[in-house]
């Protein structure tokens, strides 16, 4: 039955996994992710979820077990944050190379030292080159819905890559909001059971084989190129999934990006995660003051929405990119992507990087207003 609950982002993530009928959950606790897997563990224990919960001894093992379960044909889920994410880094790369469509919720948290448990995007952005699809949720409903969509995209026979759904630590993870928990049969009609079309490592049903033995450079390069092809394929699959989701559930979070307040915009502000939702609210306020601001949420960071960003750049005179992250000695990571796209598409709209909210520092509306007034 459809119900409305006031729940945190972490419980939304747990509900996303539950409604997706995940079969194996392998996880290790870490702040601010812990309550996702605690909730799932509770449901498994009570028999409300038909899943195997593997309490592993580290994040490296969590991803190894999730990947193994996926390779054996199960729908697998895990969740982590920050240092846990970096501890599983080796297996993150491996899961993509193994073409196991694991879905992982990552709660953004800054990296130490100095020790910090609050939101920053740098942790997830460090994994951008591993072959994972990345969904960036802006509110708790989007967390739940993106996990369901992530399985749909990851398991598509034209894709078969793992996917992350990220939510900001505390800003979403521990903040309660009204969330619609969908009827199971509707979710089932959107997300069929996982049926691996490529390979299954399961001695009960398949002949023994090895996946990922050594390959010489000429063959290795072809295999890696096929991952790039899958990533490009995922662009249309993500768009189709977003469209079908809208048809079934009656609303949309956007596909690769979402634009708000687009009419006659002079300046576009581009952001990700919960920051993007705040930008949307600020842009509405600024429009009342006569400043024509468009809010752009980058919902999917990998594959990067190049064409969409280029189109936005062509429609405005200035772009502000808010980065809750930094690549030391370089730039804001999102901003540097936007700048690269503009070069590729030969658009010369000026791009201004604004780095804010590092280590969970509050991004207040006046900070965004100041960023706009600095360049407007």
């Amino acid at each position: 039955m459809k119900r409305y609950d006031v729940i945190t982002g972490n419980y939304s993530a747990a509900w996303g996994a539950r409604l997706s009928k995940v079969e194996v959950i392998a996880a290790y606790p870490i702040t601010p992710q812990t309550t996702i897997v605690e909730k799932l563990s509770e449901w498994v224990d009570k028999g409300e979820m038909k899943a195997k919960f593997i309490a592993v001894e580290s994040e490296h093992s969590a991803m190894s077990a999730a990947m193994g379960a996926s390779a054996a044909g199960a729908r697998a889920f895990t969740a982590t944050s920050s240092h846990g994410l970096l501890y599983m880094y080796e297996m993150i790369a491996w899961a993509a190379g193994a073409r196991t469509p694991v879905v992982m919720a990552v709660v953004n948290r800054a990296l130490g030292p100095p020790w910090n448990i609050w939101s920053e995007h740098t942790d997830v952005l460090m994994t951008r080159d591993t072959g994972w699809i990345q969904f960036w949720a802006s509110n708790n409903q989007e967390v739940l819905d993106s996990i369901i969509q992530a399985y749909r995209v990851a398991e598509d026979k034209h894709v078969l890559l793992p996917a992350m759904v990220t939510l900001e630590g505390f800003v979403l993870s521990h903040t309660a909001m009204p969330v619609t928990i969908h009827e199971q049969d509707k979710v089932d009609s959107f997300l069929p059971p996982y049926n691996p079309p490529h390979y299954v490592v399961n001695p009960m049903i398949s002949e023994p084989f090895t996946y990922g033995n050594i390959l010489f450079p000429w063959d290795y390069a072809k295999v890696r190129m096929s991952i790039e092809r899958a990533m490009i394929n995922s662009i249309d699959v993500i768009k189709k999934a977003a469209k079908e989701f809208e048809e079934i559930f009656g609303y949309s979070h956007g596909a690769l990006i979402k634009e708000e307040n687009v009419e006659n915009a002079d300046v576009a502000i581009i952001a990700m995660g919960a920051v993007a939702e705040e930008v949307e609210a600020v842009s509405e306020q600024l429009r009342k003051d006569g400043l024509k601001i468009k809010a752009v949420k980058v919902r999917v960071f990998r594959p990067f929405p190049k064409r969409e960003i280029a189109e936005i750049a062509n429609s405005v005179s200035k772009i502000i990119v808010i980065d809750r992250d930094i690549s030391f000695g370089w730039d804001g990571i999102l901003a540097s992507h936007v700048k690269a796209v503009l070069h590729e598409y030969k658009v010369d709209t000026p791009v201004f990087t604004k780095i804010m909210g590092i280590g969970g520092d509050d991004i207040l509306p006046e900070h965004i207003v100041k960023a706009v007034k600095d360049v407007y």
């Binding site: 894709v159 078969l160 023994p208 084989f209 090895t210 996946y211 096929s226």
Partner: protein, 96 residues
């Protein structure tokens, strides 16, 4: 390099005898099973890291496949028979 159209090239390898070539030429020492002493305990068969020791049933004396035996002598080490049921011979370099 030929660029593949496929988005799903999978590096899958299936077990095959001697996939790495005939590695018996690597051997310096040759283990030889003495059928008079062998108690058919199958320890050598179990421990051979190259699966180069074969038996078809429990009552047979194991056979060493010298095309693949690398001469590591783990079979000799694990043989429980006092005085060993496996002898070690120096390879002469001549083809066997």
């Amino acid at each position: 390099m030929e660029v593949p159209e496929d988005h799903l090239l999978l590096p899958i390898s299936k077990p095959k005898k001697g996939a790495g070539g005939e590695t018996g030429a690597w051997r310096v020492y040759r283990p030889v099973i003495d059928p008079a002493k062998c108690i058919k305990c199958m320890m050598c068969y179990m421990y051979c890291p190259e699966a180069a020791i074969e038996v078809s049933n429990r009552n047979e004396i194991p056979r060493i496949d010298y095309r693949y035996c690398k001469g590591c002598l783990i079979c000799y080490e694990v043989c429980p028979v006092p005085g060993k049921a496996i002898k070690i011979e120096r390879e002469t370099g001549e083809k066997s």
